[in-house]
Structures are given as structure tokens and as C-alpha cells.
């Protein structure tokens, strides 16, 4: 569906979901993450700004190398050299994470924000029981707690993610991929964080298990009211999981909108491309081929970052970088193709 065909249905897309705007727990402003290379800085994340509301799931999508994982790592302050946070603020509960150092940073991690890493199933220690690994996490942050109390808490956590209590005494190799993934979710929520970042939480799982893990995430969000940032490139999964979706391209967010709104109407040509390339099981359609490469992230590009691949590129795109504008209620896009009311100009 292109924007041009749905212009008349402006009123139908003002679907609001999630809590009010002022309740933001994470507020990222002009975040820049650069990787230094001998031939210049690679601008992996360039001027990214967004907010996450309490109890909201934000999806970050885009192709590999677009900066989604780097954004997440920056929030966790896990960017490793040669990478560095070159600018911007990461405000979590009014604390700027970008300024934290040493013990302050260590305390914030996991108690306030936690991570379900990419390929989480391989992040468990193979020679420790599941229970010991979760115990470790809790004890490190909360000090001495009686064994009985700990066990009760861990069993509760396991139940919360839909795992049977016998998992308590099991080793990672005794669990299937989906169970390991759920054990990682249990660990991520063990200290009751306000924000959980899940990096491709279902990418190595088959569809049935994917669905179970996805439903577990939704369930955890419902019960704990925790906010999440889910990174992925499966648009189908995103449609099922998230409240708002941010589309990233070459280190920038090009479209950001409530998930219903973005699936209903896509403005940015890259988002249109992403949605069109979802393989369907309902109808056979010719494969959508895309040509062109992303520009070299080392060079600062004059104008729009998508100009090399954009099918609708205009003169202005080569000169001016389009700013993010709200073309619909809460639906922001960075593209010169539209006027302020979202009407396509060309």
C-alpha cells in the first residue's frame, strides 16, 4: 500500500496506543555512535532520537549494518572500542546513561535495564545450573539473601516465563532452544528492570517456538509493566509484538509510528520496500528485487541517506537532509516526498 492510495483515509490512522507522551522512561536525544577506522569514522548511529513510554514495546527494524544493535549497545553502554558514543544523551528515568561511569554504571545495568542478547541461547554458562546463574545475578546486585527466599523467587520467575519448575536444577544443554531463550528472559527480568532490550530474541528459532517466545515476552510485559526494545528484521513478528515501530536505515531512524499506522500506510520509500518484501503464504507474488548499495558510512552524505537506492529520488534529496516530521498523529517520517499533511508531492 503506498501513501498515495490511502490519502483519503487520513482519519482512520489516528490510532493511539500505549500510555501518554509525558510518561517516557527512556529519552534518547541525538545519539551518535562512531567506529574509528584508519580511513575515518564510520557513523554507525547518527543523530538518533526517540522516547520509550512506560509499559511499551518499541520495535527497531532495518537491514544488517543499519545500526539497530549498535543503538541498543549504546543504551547499555556496551559499545566497545574502536566504537564510541560520540554525542547525544541517553536519559533513563532522568539519569543520563552516557555520563555514568564505574560503579554507578554497574549498578544501573540489570537493575534498571537488562539485555536478552542476540543468540541468547548461547549466552548461558554451560557448566552452571539455570538456578545458579539466576542466583548469581540476584546476589551480585542485592547482596546476601537466604537460600529459601532465593529459590522461591527463582521458581516464580520460571513460572512467569512458562517454564516448569524442574528447569531449576537443569543445565543449559538439557533445554531446547526455546526453553533456553525463556530462561534468558527470566534472567533479564530477575531484578525487575524498567527496560528490557531484546536483540533478535527469536531469530534462530523455528516458527512454532518463535511464537511461544513472542507470547512469553508479551505476557511478561503485561504482568510486570516493563518497557521493551525489540530488535529484529522480521516484519511479521514485529506486527505481532510491538506497540511502536522505528525503521532504521544507515544509522538513522527514517520512520517511527504506532505499529497499526505503519502497516496501514508507509511513507518512507525504504519502509515501503521493507513491507513489500515480506514473503507471503497467502498469495504468490513476483519477487521484489532491490538494486543499489548503502552509501559508505565513512563519508558524510550530502542530503538524504537513502538517495542512492530511492526509486523516487528528487533534486532536493541530494542537497538537503529531510527532517523527521509528523505526517499523521504520532507517525513521523523523514522524507521530502510529502508535504506537512502527508500528501505526496510528486
Amino acid at each position: 500500500m503506498t501513501a498515495a492510495t490511502t490519502i483519503d483515509s487520513v482519519d482512520t490512522v489516528t490510532v493511539d496506543r500505549g500510555p501518554a507522551e509525558q510518561d517516557a522512561i527512556l529519552d534518547i536525544r541525538n545519539l551518535q555512535v562512531f567506529y574509528s577506522t584508519p580511513t575515518g569514522d564510520v557513523r554507525a548511529v547518527d543523530n538518533v532520537s526517540f522516547k520509550v513510554q512506560r509499559g511499551e514495546i518499541i520495535g527497531l527494524v532495518g537491514e544488517s549494518g543499519c545500526g539497530k544493535t549498535t543503538t541498543a549497545m549504546a543504551i547499555l553502554r556496551l559499545v566497545q572500542p574502536p566504537g564510541r558514543i560520540a554525542g547525544g544523551e541517553i536519559n533513563l528515568d532522568s539519569v543520563n546513561l552516557a555520563d555514568l561511569e564505574g560503579d554507578d554504571l554497574r549498578e544501573t545495568r540489570w537493575t534498571k535495564l537488562s539485555l536478552i542478547p542476540q543468540g541468547a541461547m548461547n549466552s548461558l554458562n554451560p557448566v552452571m545450573r539455570i538456578s545458579s546463574q539466576i542466583k548469581d545475578t540476584i546476589r551480585t546486585h542485592e547482596g546476601r539473601i537466604s537460600n529459601r527466599e532465593l529459590k522461591e523467587r527463582i521458581l516464580q520467575l520460571l513460572q512467569l516465563v512458562g517454564l516448569p519448575s524442574r528447569v531449576y536444577d537443569m543445565y543449559p544443554h538439557e533445554l531446547s532452544g526455546g526453553m533456553k531463550q525463556r530462561a534468558c528472559i527470566a534472567m533479564a527480568i530477575a531484578l525487575d528492570p524498567v527496560l528490557v532490550i531484546a536483540d533478535e530474541p527469536t531469530s534462530a528459532l523455528d516458527v512454532v517456538v518463535q511464537r511461544v517466545v513472542g507470547e512469553t515476552l508479551l505476557d511478561v510485559k503485561e504482568r510486570l509493566g516493563v518497557s521493551m526494545i525489540v530488535i529484529g528484521h522480521d516484519m511479521g513478528l514485529m506486527a505481532q509484538l510491538v506497540d511502536r515501530l522505528a525503521v532504521m536505515y544507515a544509522g538513522r531512524i527514517v520512520e517511527f509510528a504506532p505499529v497499526e499506522s505503519i502497516f496501514n500506510e508507509q511513507f518512507h520509500p525504504y519502509t515501503q520496500l521493507l513491507i513489500e518484501s515480506i514473503p507471503s503464504i497467502k498469495e504468490k507474488k513476483p519477487l521484489k528485487l532491490t538494486e543499489g548499495l548503502t552509501h559508505d558510512l565513512r563519508t558524510h552524505m550530502q542530503g538524504c541517506i537513502f538517495q542512492l537506492r530511492c526509486p523516487h529520488v528528487m533534486d532536493i534529496c541530494r542537497e538537503e537532509n529531510p527532517p523527521m516530521r509528523a505526517l499523521r498523529s504520532r507517525h513521523e517520517t523523514a522524507c521530502h516526498l510529502y508535504d506537512d499533511d502527508g500528501v505526496r508531492l510528486h
Partner: protein, 332 residues
């Protein structure tokens, strides 16, 4: 004419040797598959992790031997081939693997993968001829030699590497390409490009594919035939479109219901009964249907014997499920 590839009652059991006391793993059981020589087709093997898809690929590529059964290539049993026949087989059956990062040796320029096969199969008599062959193969996948050949693998993107692998397979003009999850690690936009290459090789060059995947939507888009495996046995098979549009086996129905719909107003379909204890479902049943522990429509009968394929539609659409045993229905 003998079919291109004919797999008969293939069974592969891991473990259970003289020295191992542990339980055996039946990776593949009594598996039958036929791929005709022409017209060229894309045959999809689909199923969840652990269903035996990759075991099948390894068997066809000759990486591992069958426990029982036969794999017959153009009338010759793989196990009885002479050394020369085996070399020819290795040339005519090519592979494209899942991980386009792991298949290259990082110390050599990418040109090396092409030089290697030209040398091994003595394909060219001069350097110029070799260069032309490489250029031709790269053109088929939409690349130019001067752009990529002198680079090292880490300088190429995932999509470029996977296309190079397609070009490499193509250069040998194989009859069959075993593609083991070729698109699961590349992006959505590049996925279409790889699938398009597969379609073109099938239609323009007459190459057949054994396309191994867990992604039913791509199978639907490009597959001709499909075999859905569940724990080493075929649950359902037939023409890809017919099976996916009208699935009969409860497992296949569950699988299709679980594919997330790219529409936020449509929630995951089907029953909620998907959160069956993973542990339990991994325990294989000694006799009877392997899907029994997870099946929502199970009957006592399913425990007594393993279901054989029953016809459920036109053009060899079969489902291995007692729900479709017409004879039993008549008797009852």
C-alpha cells in the same frame, strides 16, 4: 528414464554403536523422495529444527552414510559408485550452505574458490578461458569480476558472498543444487535476489534444487514440491501451493498458524495450545505417531502404529495421519 535423484526408505540413526550405551537418535526414518530429471524443479524440504532436514542434505551430498535404504542418482546407487562416478557425482551435485560467512577461507582472496574448482575439475585449459568462465558465472548472479574477485571475504557483504556461492555452484553446471537454508542469514531485500537467482537457474539452465528451509513462506513463493518433516518422518508432502494453501496434517496446520502475520490487527491464529512443554515433545514415542504428544486431534490408534502416507488431495498430496485413513472410516 531414471529419475535424477531417487531416495528409497532412507534411514539414518546416530549413536548406538558398539561403544555407546546411550539412546540412539533417529534423524531420518524410511524417507522416500523422487526428483525427476526434467523439467527442473525446486523441491522444498521443510520442518523445525531437529526434524532431519540437514541430515538429508548431508546424506545427499555424501558427507555421511545411510544406516539403511538407498540414494540412487540417475540409476546408480550412491553407496556403490566407483571412484570416477563419485567424482562426476560431486561435480553434478553442488551445495550452497546456510552461513555465507563460514564457507570462505579468510586468508585467501575470493577468487580462490573459483580457481580451486577449475583446477580440481580441470575445467579450463588456459587462464583466459578460466577468467571467461568465472566472469560468465558471476554475471549470472549479477556481479562483475573486477569488483569482487581480488577482494578478501570480509570485504564483501553477506548477500554478495551468498551470490558468489551460487555463482560457484553454477559454474560447474550441476544437475542438482542442494541449498541448505541459503536465505536464512541474509536480509529481506537480499533474500528476494537469491531466490530470484534460484528461479532463473531452474528455468534458464535446467538445474534442479533441493531447497532446505524452515521458512514456509519462501517455500510457497518458489517451491514446486514440498516435503514437511517432523522428527525424521514425512508429515505431509505434495505440490507446494496445494500443501500450504490447504494443509491437512495437524503439525503442518500448527506450523502455518504460527507464522506471524504482517498485520497488527490479525493476532497469531489457531489454538492457544502451542505452549506445550518443549521437553515433553522431544521425547520420541517408541511406536506410533511421533507427533502424538503435541497433537490436538490424537486418537488411541495413533499410539499403536506409525501412520503411513494417506492421499488427501490431487497430485500426490499425502499426509501421514490416521485422520485421513479412509479405509478405517469405512470399516468403522
Amino acid at each position: 528414464m531414471a529419475p535424477l535423484l531417487d531416495i528409497k526408505k532412507a534411514t539414518k540413526i546416530y549413536g548406538g554403536g558398539m561403544l555407546s550405551a546411550g539412546p540412539v537418535t533417529v534423524a531420518l526414518q524410511d524417507y522416500d523422495l523422487t526428483i525427476e530429471e526434467s523439467p527442473a524443479t525446486i523441491t522444498t524440504i521443510a520442518g523445525e529444527s531437529g526434524s532431519g532436514k540437514s541430515t538429508l542434505a548431508n546424506l545427499v551430498l555424501g558427507f555421511t552414510d545411510l544406516t539403511s535404504g538407498q540414494i540412487i542418482y540417475r540409476g546408480r546407487d550412491l553407496a556403490e559408485m566407483t571412484a570416477q562416478e563419485r567424482i562426476d557425482y560431486r561435480r553434478e551435485v553442488q551445495a550452497v550452505f546456510q552461513d555465507p560467512y563460514a564457507v570462505y577461507n579468510p586468508f585467501y582472496r575470493v577468487k580462490h574458490v573459483f580457481d580451486l574448482i577449475i583446477r580440481n575439475f580441470k575445467m579450463a585449459s588456459s587462464k583466459a578461458e578460466a577468467r571467461d568462465m568465472i566472469e560468465d558465472a558471476l554475471n549470472v548472479v549479477g556481479m562483475r569480476g573486477e569488483e569482487v574477485l581480488e577482494k578478501y571475504p570480509h570485504q564483501l557483504s553477506g548477500g554478495q558472498r551468498q551470490r558468489m556461492m551460487m555463482a560457484r555452484a553454477y559454474m560447474l553446471k550441476p544437475k542438482l543444487i542442494v541449498a541448505d537454508e541459503p536465505v536464512s542469514m541474509v536480509d529481506a531485500s537480499l533474500r528476494a535476489m537469491i531466490l530470484d537467482i534460484m528461479l532463473r537457474l531452474r528455468d534458464e539452465e535446467g538445474m534442479s534444487f533441493l531447497y532446505i528451509t524452515h521458512d514456509l513462506s519462501t517455500a510457497y513463493q518458489i517451491g514446486d514440491h514440498i516435503y514437511l518433516l517432523y522428527q525424521g518422518s514425512v508429515a505431509e508432502s505434495g505440490e507446494a501451493a496445494a500443501v500450504i494453501e490447504n494443509p491437512k496434517h495437524p503439525y503442518v496446520q500448527l506450523l502455518l498458524d504460527s507464522i506471524p502475520v504482517p498485520d497488527p490487527s490479525v493476532k497469531w491464529g489457531g489454538d492457544e495450545a502451542t505452549t506445550i512443554d518443549d521437553e515433553e515433545m522431544r521425547v520420541s514415542v517408541d511406536s506410533g505417531c511421533r507427533f502424538y504428544p503435541r497433537c490436538t486431534q490424537r486418537m488411541d490408534r495413533c499410539l499403536e502404529a506409525s501412520p503411513v502416507p494417506f492421499p488427501v488431495g490431487a497430485n500426490n498430496h499425502n499426509a501421514s495421519c490416521f485422520l485421513y485413513d479412509e479405509e478405517a472410516k469405512i470399516l468403522a
